[in-house]
């Protein structure tokens, strides 16, 4: 955002004027104002708003799963009579091979999905950020070593590495998440490093250096916040990939443990009934698709807001 010229016609209401005030009176007003500006830019993009809606919906569903789901996601009905039923009024999205209600499972599965997404973001982003900024800022042999390591991780077949980790740590959703996180930080490190390289010679970094700031202080306080936005965008865009990788691990039987209603695992089971009982795989598949799409659209919108140079 550059010094935007004043709008000619602006029907500014009190609240808006306060938010957009060129003279904020407190840190909070300044921050909120910035946020509001971002939100305004964001909300102009209908697809991004849809994305946000989807993500919020996901969160709501995850919170209220117990209320929303009509049946237990874990214990099924009678194997002989309620197994693999097509969508109907009783079972909105049909039942699966264990005679469980697919809708209830998807609803509860949203928690797992959210868990995966949040945890991977919380593990991978800081690693990538730290490796990238330290490497980019310090340069020299630190850079060489860190980037070599990054390259090695990057050159590693991703699913294989995840598989190996899961194999080593034992299957289970937490380990799958760790595995995914461990395989997904290198691109973030690369991005953060590229960003850092651009920032590190800028005058404002020179200025803090001249105030005697220590290296950690510069990296954490000044470099990291600037890399964060492009990273957030990237992570959001990667969310779909993360869910799908988790699904891929589930598909290979290494992700979530049954009877946990993990969407990827559900699709994986459903694959056996794909042709005749299409709903078993299709329903969680659609859920994955919608959520990934939501994250992608959101990421796209965020890119416009947080990363104006990439958006153009």
């Amino acid at each position: 955002m550059t010094g935007a010229p004043l709008p000619l016609a602006s029907e500014s209401s009190g609240m808006r004027a306060w938010l957009l005030s060129p003279e904020p009176h407190s840190r909070w007003q300044a921050r909120l104002g910035r946020f509001y500006l971002g939100w305004r830019a964001f909300s102009r993009n209908p697809l991004a708003v849809i994305g946000l809606g989807i993500v919020i919906l996901l969160i709501l569903v995850a919170i209220f799963a117990d209320v929303i789901a009509p049946y237990s996601p874990i214990t099924g009905g009678d194997l002989r009579t309620e197994r693999l039923l097509p969508p109907s009024e009783t079972y909105w999205l049909g039942t699966d091979d264990q005679a469980r209600d697919i809708f209830s499972r998807i609803v509860h599965g949203s928690r797992v999905t959210l868990f995966i997404v949040v945890l991977v973001a919380l593990i991978a982003t800081p690693i990538g950020l730290l490796v990238g900024t330290v490497s980019g800022y310090l340069g020299g042999w630190v850079d060489t070593v860190l980037m070599r390591i990054t390259d090695i991780f990057l050159a590693f077949p991703r699913l294989i590495l995840a598989l190996a980790f899961v194999a080593a740590l034992g299957p289970g959703i937490e380990n799958a998440i760790i595995a995914i996180a461990i395989t997904s930080w290198p691109p973030y490190a690369r991005i953060a490093r590229a960003e850092t390289l651009m920032i590190r010679n800028s005058d404002f970094i020179a200025a803090v250096k001249l105030q005697g700031a220590s290296t950690p202080r510069i990296i954490l306080g000044h470099v990291v916040p600037l890399c964060l936005s492009s990273l957030i965008v990237r992570v959001t865009l990667d969310m779909a990939g993360i869910i799908l990788t988790a699904a891929g691990l589930g598909f290979l039987g290494l992700g979530a443990q049954p009877p946990m209603p993990e969407w990827g695992a559900m699709v994986a089971t459903g694959r056996n009934y794909l042709i005749d009982q299409w709903w078993v795989a299709a329903m969680p598949g659609i859920a994955i698709f919608v959520v990934s799409l939501g994250f992608n659209l959101l990421g796209d919108g965020l890119r416009d807001v947080l990363d104006p140079k990439a958006a153009k």
């Binding site: 214990t75 099924g76 009678d78 194997l79 002989r80 197994r83 693999l84 091979d97 264990q98 194999a167 034992g170 299957p171 289970g172 290979l252 039987g253 290494l254 443990q257 049954p258 009877p259 089971t269 694959r271 056996n272 009934y273 794909l274 042709i275 005749d276 009982q277």
Partner: protein
């Protein structure tokens, strides 16, 4: 579509790791072996108790029951054109024992070792040889073992040509062929394709020129290929797909019970599982019928004894059924009124996973919290062999057609210590079967068929009542075959799956 003189099968056959008969131990490889090699004797797949000669014309057992003499059929040839002689048979047995690969114990159990095999297995004439065993075993046991793939007769001349550094030609034969069966193994590309071709020297010429096995992991892909006619037989379909195929007018569904049982192994190191009431309770917490009719439809029938149907002395009574109340009662008696938590090592195949989840649900009804630990089969096995599991869900296929094969593992445990050399299933579940071990050993020596069968019945009863095994199904192998294929035969064991007389109309 497939060529008229070629049968194309789709199969999950990534388990093949060797085609050397001395090493073959896996399902897929056994089937290939069955169709490409011959053994001294064989049995009728419709009635396995009828044993007949294959390469042997006749045989006799010495009165002390320790020496077997075989006469070889004259004028028969290997696929290479070399004549089949007693020398080849002796060589093959020497070779199997000397190489000492995994299945070598099938011969080794008769006292044959690397060092003594040259004296115990001897050529006594151009078409005559003798085998000497260490004890007077039931002759059927010995003969069944000689009908096993490990005792396949290999072409000595051809193998010797390819021998290197005294390896008995092993490194060559692993991927090549030197036999006399109806088909010749022409090409094997691991995880891709295996091609059998008609053996011109076989006495009963096969109707088909070629049989191709394609490795197709994805069952849905197999089904689509079958429907399109790009394969003739789909071997790995899941129950729902079989159901669909059975309704398809172009297909027929064939099945045969196999000598494999599905069971839960309850580790006796777990204090809860070590209680007899708990073991019993768990046997009442499996919905046998529902599993057999839904998840395992076409894939297995309810079976609760360790000897599969078709084996000598096999019991067919299935006393247990789902009875939650009874189970609760038993649990209360064991002092576990509120149930307990337990894990189950589960191979992540769709079937096993489905069954495990069904059990998870019924166990839950009695308050037992079952946590399923999905893992790869090799991993599950590693843990199982280290006795680190709580419950292991798996299957056990008999190594040869004799009841001892299963009794030896389910009902006998010579040494229950952690350092034990042998690791039968009883040992893996840390179960000391007490007197049953001796009984199992005795049954092997019983030469009277009737009496022997009776002994096995007793053993089965004991294990059924108190053993740490919840046996629930006997496997059925099922294949969807296109209507125009005839004489595609699924036998009682994998080596009996026979395509030698298959033909296409």
């Amino acid at each position: 579509a497939t060529p008229p003189d070629t049968l194309v099968q789709a199969w999950q056959m990534d388990d093949i790791i060797s085609l050397d008969p001395a090493e073959i131990f896996e399902m897929s490889a056994s089937e290939i072996n069955g169709n490409t090699y011959e053994r001294l004797v064989t049995y009728d797949i419709k009635d396995v108790s009828k044993i007949s000669g294959q390469i042997a014309e006749s045989w006799t057992v010495s009165p002390d029951g320790k020496t077997y003499t075989f006469k070889i059929k004259p004028n028969r040839k290997f696929a290479s054109g070399n004549p089949i002689t007693a020398e080849d048979v002796v060589y093959s047995l020497h070779r199997a024992v000397a190489l000492d690969k995994s299945p070598a114990f099938i011969l080794g159990q008769f006292g044959l070792t690397k060092d003594n095999v040259k004296d115990k297995v001897k050529q006594t004439g151009p078409l005559e040889m003798t085998l000497e065993v260490d004890k007077a075993y039931a002759p059927t046991l010995v003969l069944y073992c000689l009908g096993n793939s490990v005792a396949s007769v290999v072409d000595k001349k051809l193998v010797a040509q390819n021998e290197k550094d005294g390896d008995w030609g092993y490194n060559w034969l692993k991927t090549k062929y030197a036999g006399s069966g109806p088909y010749v193994m022409r090409e094997w590309k691991a995880n891709e394709v295996l091609v059998l071709e008609r053996n011109p020297n076989y006495e009963k010429k096969t109707p088909l020129a070629r049989v191709i096995y394609r490795h197709i992991k994805e069952t849905a892909s197999q089904r689509l290929l079958l429907e399109k006619g790009d394969i003739d037989v789909a071997r790995s379909l899941n129950p729902e797909e079989i159901t669909a195929m059975s309704k398809n007018p172009d297909m027929k569904v064939q099945s045969a019970p196999k000598g494999t049982v599905y069971y839960l192994g309850l580790n006796q190191k777990n204090p809860n599982l070590a209680k007899p009431e708990v073991r019993q309770a768990l046997k009442y917490l499996v919905d046998y019928q529902a599993i057999a009719e839904t998840i395992m439809k076409y894939k297995g029938d309810v079976h609760q004894n360790f000897l599969p149907k078709g084996f000598l002395g096999a019991e067919t009574n299935n006393p247990y059924k789902l009875d939650v109340a009874k189970a609760k009662e038993l649990l209360a008696k064991a002092g576990l009124k509120d149930g307990f938590s337990v894990t189950m090592d589960t191979r992540s195949t769709p079937e096993i996973m489905g069954v495990a989840q069904a059990m998870q649900s019924t166990f839950g009804q009695a308050g037992i919290k079952l946590e399923i630990l999905p893992m790869d089969s090799k991993q599950a096995l590693t843990k199982y062999r280290a006795r680190q599991h709580d419950i292991y869900i798996g299957n056990w296929g008999s190594d040869y057609q004799d009841p001892n094969s299963n009794a030896d593992t389910f009902a006998a445990n010579d040494d229950n210590s952690d350092q034990a050399k042998a690791k039968p299933l009883a040992w893996r579940n840390a179960w000391d079967p007490g007197p049953l071990t001796a009984k199992t050993r005795a049954a092997v020596m019983e030469r009277d068929g009737e009496k022997r069968a009776q002994m096995y019945k007793e053993l089965q009863k004991a294990v059924l009542d108190d053993g740490p095994f919840v046996i629930f199904l006997q496997q059925t192998e099922v294949a969807a075959v296109r209507k125009n294929v005839d004489n595609f035969i699924l036998g009682p064991s994998f080596s009996d799956n026979d395509v030698s007389q298959a033909k296409k109309n």
